[in-house]
Amino acid sequence: MDELELIVSRRREEAQGICSFELARPDGGELPPFTAGAHIDVYVQPGLVRQYSLCGEPGDRRRWRIAVLREPASRGGSAGMHDEVKPGTTLRVSAPRNHFALVPAPHSLLLAGGIGVTPILAMAKTLHREGSSFEMHYCTRSPGRTAFLDELRAAAFGQRARFHFDDGQPAQKFDADSVLSGAQPGTHLYVCGPSGFMDHVLRTARRLGWAEERLHREYFAGSVASSPVDAGFDIQLARSKRTLQIPADKSVLQVLLDGGIDVAFSCESGVCGSCLTPVLEGTPDHRDSYLTDAERAANDQFTPCCSRSKTPVLVLDL
């Protein structure tokens, strides 16, 4: 119920396919405060709303900064932002909300993949201003696709940021195992980027014994490579060591029951949560109404009665 009409004061092409927008109040007044990790809803067009993280300095009350990656399969949001929004455009936005906040810790590990750098950048600025210990790893396809590359290199905390380019030398590639196992006790980890990147980081962390409360993530909708069409896919049952095919016209629950696997269930429509099953690998395509947004984003459980998979294989703890 809290909305603002802001004006775009600046637009900058940050990298290939990525542009940033600076937003300000038309009267030049103060914007609501926010903490690093926060995002706003942007009403790109009537009926089309997208969430964008605030990547500017949290202490700056005069302007907000967001950055948008043009998605190849844009459903209108990123294309709308790139094609229609320029300096002088007014945008209706919500007040900031934060589901990805920093917590005090002896050391913070910031991991950004692609456009996931936006909340991470705000976090780096905050931690630097506070004098807190942190390191940042920024994984992108290539330097040309890396937003804020020069800004980060020139920043006062620049030496705390490591870049990892997919198209670069093997030695500089991001090695989750070595970065995570080298972290001092009590370190908190913050990861944001494409879901494949995030799932890999989080699974590595769990495998290395990181406690769940030290892992923080924020998934962006629409940053998944595969599109959620009702295709067939496979499930692997980790405990019984079976692989089952899920055809396009059958639910995972149906296949499990047909296969003689005992799974609790009741409503068969994603309302009650009775069939909740842990997911060990792969990215579920959530179609239920039971899990909260945060739980869905964690992608570590799903409701087989109606939800499907975004990846070709889902490994379940069954």
């Binding site: 009741s266 409503c267 309302v271 009650c272 109404s289 039971y290 909260t292």
Partner: protein, 341 residues
């Protein structure tokens, strides 16, 4: 572990109920007496005299506090006894538990802490529509023979309107069951929104606004532990957009404070505020009458539901349907808040 969420605000009643007499009420299995002192302040104490345990609600209210009906011991809003008729010394131990109660927007809010006597850690909720010139409102209350969460389930689902409430706010049953419903959650709040363009205006709406054969109708429910808001209404087709925050038309804003009494009973305090067409006569009494009739219909269903649950006994294996999404979110929130305190 507590049965109910603690360190929370709950509705204790309405301002209009506290005049010159004490009121006995039990919230979360804690018996209390509510009263208003001479300077207009509201107070809530444990309903038990520290002398010989008579309920203080059997006594009388004076300017300085509540006087026990047995031996006249007078208690201030702080819970301290300040007078023992017939003796000079008031023992320092002559003291009863006091609760933090505030009066805001004509609503009485009680803070139920985990640690006895602890102060509230946040302000009581605001409900400014009781003080908004655009609205007239009336209140009501029920003592329900059913657990409080069955009322949450009922209020977070408006699909039953076409079956339970045909005489008042029903309208078209099929439209109610098939209307698109959006459920969103923000922390400990759940919102359920239904937009129903092209609806048949129900009798309650027609009594307040000169609708024709169809109207564009909305229902917005917002649940939080302390209270629910159910805002409904309609605009004439072709006038304002149904999701425009400043739309005109007929508005009904319901306030619902559901406070558990025991595991099996609860208090339900409600208010209904509404606008009216400038050319239609004053209608708030009719709106309240129809609202009360509607809530009576709900009570018949919920109390029958609970009696049946008890008759069959055990833990039922309820099969959920689409209408339960909002209610399930509320139950998970309550579960989390019970564990949190």
């Amino acid at each position: 572990m507590s049965l109910f969420p603690l360190n929370q605000w709950y509705v204790a009643g309405f301002s209009s109920e506290l005049t010159d007499k004490p009121i006995a009420r039990t919230f979360l299995k804690q018996k209390m007496v509510l009263f208003r002192t001479g300077d207009g302040r509201v107070a809530a104490l444990e309903d038990r005299c520290c002398h010989r345990s008579l309920p203080l609600s059997c006594g009388t209210v004076e300017a300085g506090g509540v006087r026990c009906g047995y031996h006249g011991m007078l208690y201030a809003p702080s819970g301290q006894c300040i007078e023992v008729p017939g003796q000079d010394r008031v023992p320092t131990k002559a003291c009863v538990k006091a609760y933090h109660i505030v009066e805001k927007n004509h609503i009485l809010w009680i803070w139920m802490p985990q640690e006895q006597g602890a102060a509230p850690t946040r302000e009581a909720p605001d409900y400014p529509w009781h003080d908004d010139a655009r609205f007239k409102f009336g209140t009501g209350k029920y003592h329900y023979q059913a657990p409080w969460q069955l009322i949450h389930d009922n209020l977070l689902d408006l699909s039953h309107l076409g079956y339970v409430h045909l005489k008042t706010i029903g309208g078209n049953a099929r439209l109610h069951m098939t209307a698109d419903m959006q459920v969103t959650q923000d922390g400990d709040k759940v919102r359920v929104v239904r937009l129903m363009p092209g609806s048949t205006p129900p009798p309650t709406y027609k009594a307040a606004w000169p609708f024709g054969d169809t109207c564009d109708r909305w229902q917005e429910i917002e649940f939080e532990l302390s209270h629910l808001k159910i805002w409904t209404g309609a605009v004439e087709p072709g006038t304002d957009a149904i999701d425009d925050p400043n739309r005109g038309g007929f508005h009904m804003r319901g306030f619902h404070g559901i406070t558990p009494e025991t595991e099996e009973t609860c208090h339900y305090f409600w208010s209904m505020a509404s606008t009216r067409h400038p050319d239609m006569p004053e209608n708030i009494d009719e709106v309240i009458r129809q609202t009360a009739f509607t809530f009576d219909e709900d009570r018949a269903v919920i109390e029958a539901q609970y009696r049946n649950m008890k008759d069959f006994g055990g833990k039922p294996e309820w099969v959920d349907i689409h209408v339960d999404v909002g209610g399930n979110r509320a139950r998970r929130i309550v579960q989390r808040l019970v564990a949190a305190a």
